[in-house]
């Protein structure tokens, strides 16, 4: 199963919480520079799967490697190579924009000079120059999300994990957010994104449909639509998710 080209690969990866099987024997691999979408209803096991890959949760069984490092034993090396944006907003609301950037740059050990350069670049890209001294709590949600993403890739990780990064923001902001994701992919960063917005699925290179903790489909959006004779990803999702027994949490 080992694939030297893959930056993420999982083989029969499972997570049980007591009797409950949150993720059931999932296997897949992601290539460098790919935008890999992880789709599923609420409670399908997307977040659990992602947390196992980041080293936040210990898998119950199966194996997985991130950038060639084992998720059981080499979590410290994995941490050096990944960025992470959690489902819940992951910046400090009581720090200013600049302070947040400085803090996260600091804990990843960026040198002062590089940090300053990166900060300017980031503020410029996001057009947040005037807001550098604003508390993050005062920013609109869409800006916060864009800022959180930019901070997650500040240390130029090989892989970024995004857990429902666009939850609750308007379509225009979501579109802008995906522009940032494309820009990152262009730099060679691999993106692993979970979402339940089907229009976003179209933006991914390949997508993986998760239903009740199991992979029901894995292919490019175009191929999936062809296979299921569907017009949109929405239709593909309804077709697959009909079999779900779990209720959303």
């Amino acid at each position: 199963m080992s694939n030297p080209q893959a930056v993420i690969w999982a083989d029969k990866l499972s997570k049980h919480f007591g009797e409950f099987v949150a993720v059931n024997q999932i296997s897949f691999s992601v290539q460098k520079g790919e935008i890999f979408g992880f789709l599923g209803a609420n409670g399908a096991g997307k977040t659990t799967a992602m947390r196992m890959l980041c080293g936040l949760l210990l898998p119950t069984s199966g194996s997985a490697a991130i950038a060639g490092y084992d998720v059981y034993t080499q979590t410290e090396q994995i941490k050096q190579n990944i960025g992470y944006m959690s489902q819940r907003f992951s910046l400090y609301e009581d720090l200013t924009v600049a302070e947040n950037i400085r803090f996260f740059g600091g804990i990843y050990g960026l040198p002062d000079k590089q940090l300053k350069l990166k900060t300017d670049e980031l503020l410029h890209t996001l057009q947040l120059h005037t807001e550098a001294k604003t508390l993050v709590s005062a920013l609109p949600l869409g800006w916060k999300q864009k800022l959180a993403f930019s901070v997650a890739i500040l240390h130029e990780p090989a892989i970024v994990f995004l857990d429902e990064p666009t939850g609750g923001v308007d379509p225009i902001t979501r579109r802008q957010f995906w522009d940032l994701i494309y820009a990152a992919a262009q730099q060679g960063i691999t993106l692993f994104v979970t979402t339940h917005y089907m229009d976003e699925a179209e933006y991914c290179n390949r997508i993986c449909m998760l239903v009740d903790g199991e992979i029901k489909a894995l292919d490019t959006p175009a191929n999936l639509k062809k296979q299921h004779q569907a017009q949109t990803m929405d239709d593909v999702f309804y077709h697959l998710a009909r079999t779900a027994k779990r209720t959303a949490d």
């Binding site: 919480f17 947390r51 980041c54 080293g55 936040l56 949760l57 210990l58 979590t75 410290e76 941490k79 050096q80 990944i82 992470y84 944006m85 959690s86 489902q87 819940r88 907003f89 992951s90 910046l91 400090y92 609301e93 009581d94 720090l95 302070e99 400085r102 803090f103 996260f104 740059g105 600091g106 804990i107 990843y108 050990g109 508390l135 994990f161």
Partner: protein, 368 residues
């Protein structure tokens, strides 16, 4: 190290941006010290007193027997010279010394006037006051009996001396107590909320995914509160010196060094609570109910520990504030040096290392 400072800077921002935190940090100590202006009186039982009987005659022995029969006292007969008396008090166990001069009975019968000296350790003014009142009452009672038996106006004069705190200022008692209480409250409460808040907000996930060392996450949380608590300590001491007119008898350096140690003890405890709980409310409840109340009761400044049933006396030993309170009284009021407090210091040091080790060990580097 640079990463560590990035973290510490962020923690300072958290503290200074939260008005509630600032109010609790600086409002509570000031309010406490100003409100505790009155002292509490309590009956004291089984206080250890020493009787130095230089007369060894009938009258002195009868009085000594009456003192020994009283349930408030446990008496010990010992011939002490003034220097030995001082040393006895420093050890802290003996609260009162009653001294009969030579020829006590002779003076009483022939001069119709005799003297008894009572020396009390007034670093705890409530206890000193109550004990001397008890002792004087017993001696006066004896004098009344003599009048009835002899029909002579024989008088026994009691000469009282309060050492360490001659003016019996109640504040001497409560300043060390408030110091222990406030430092405990602030440090435990503040830090107990700090880690668990990141768990609640979800930022902990991001920290766990970063290569930042878990041990440093724990330690950097404690840094701002450590410095702010030292500022707090200074405020309390300045208030007690300038407003309450209570001097610091011993070494300021020693007082600060020991207080810094105690602050670390309290911070470690707060971090431990924060590490094992999952919500800010639980953490707060544990710190308030589990720590504040016992600290109030078992430190010894409100309720004398000597009066408690034995199991509770034993229990009081596990509260670090008790040891800190003893140290502060010794240094601040009695003006004693390190040799007098090394045992208590060692206890605090051990407690700190233990709590710190446990809380670092308990820190979860994964979510579940």
């Amino acid at each position: 190290m640079k990463r560590f400072f990035a973290f510490v800077r962020k923690e300072f921002h958290h503290v200074f941006r939260d008005p509630k935190t600032m109010l609790l940090l600086f409002g509570v100590p000031v309010a406490q010290i100003l409100l505790f202006g009155f002292a509490l009186t309590n009956e004291i039982k089984n206080a250890h007193i020493i009787i130095t009987d230089n007369a060894q005659d009938i009258a002195s022995k009868q009085i000594a027997a009456k003192l020994a029969a009283n349930t408030n006292f446990i008496t010990h007969q010992k011939q002490l010279n003034p220097q030995q008396i001082e040393e006895t008090f420093r050890q802290g166990k003996v609260k009162l010394v009653v001294i009969f001069p030579p020829n006590f009975n002779h003076d009483l019968l022939h001069l119709q006037k005799a003297q008894v000296q009572i020396i009390a350790d007034a670093s705890d003014p409530n206890t000193a006051n109550t004990l001397t009142t008890y002792a004087t009452a017993i001696i006066m009672d004896y004098q009344k009996q003599l009048w009835q038996n002899t029909n002579l106006p024989l008088s026994i004069h009691t000469d009282m001396r309060m050492i360490y705190n001659p003016e019996l200022k109640g504040i001497t008692n409560f300043v060390p107590g408030v110091m222990a209480l406030v430092l405990m409250l602030i440090c435990v409460l503040m830090t107990s909320v700090s880690i668990v808040r990141e768990k609640e907000l979800g930022t902990m996930e991001v920290l766990l995914v970063s290569p930042f060392n878990a041990v440093l996450v724990v330690i950097s949380k404690a840094v701002p509160y450590f410095f702010l608590s030292l500022v707090n300590l200074t405020v309390i001491l300045l208030l007690s010196v300038l407003v309450m007119g209570m001097p610091v008898a011993g070494s300021w350096v020693l007082l600060y060094a020991i207080s810094a140690l105690f602050i670390l003890t309290a911070l470690s405890l707060g971090l431990l609570i924060s590490n094992v709980t999952n919500s800010q409310q639980t953490a707060m409840l544990i710190s308030l109910m589990g720590m504040l109340l016992p600290t109030l009761i078992f430190t010894g400044f409100m309720f004398p520990i000597e009066n408690m049933p034995l199991p509770l006396q034993v229990m009081s030993n596990i509260f670090p504030s008790k040891w800190y309170y003893i140290i502060v009284k010794n240094v601040m009021i009695k003006g004693l040096g390190f040799t007098a407090i090394w045992k208590e210091t060692l206890i605090l040091l051990t407690a700190t290392l233990l709590l710190m080790t446990i809380s670092i060990a308990k820190f979860k580097t994964r979510l579940a």
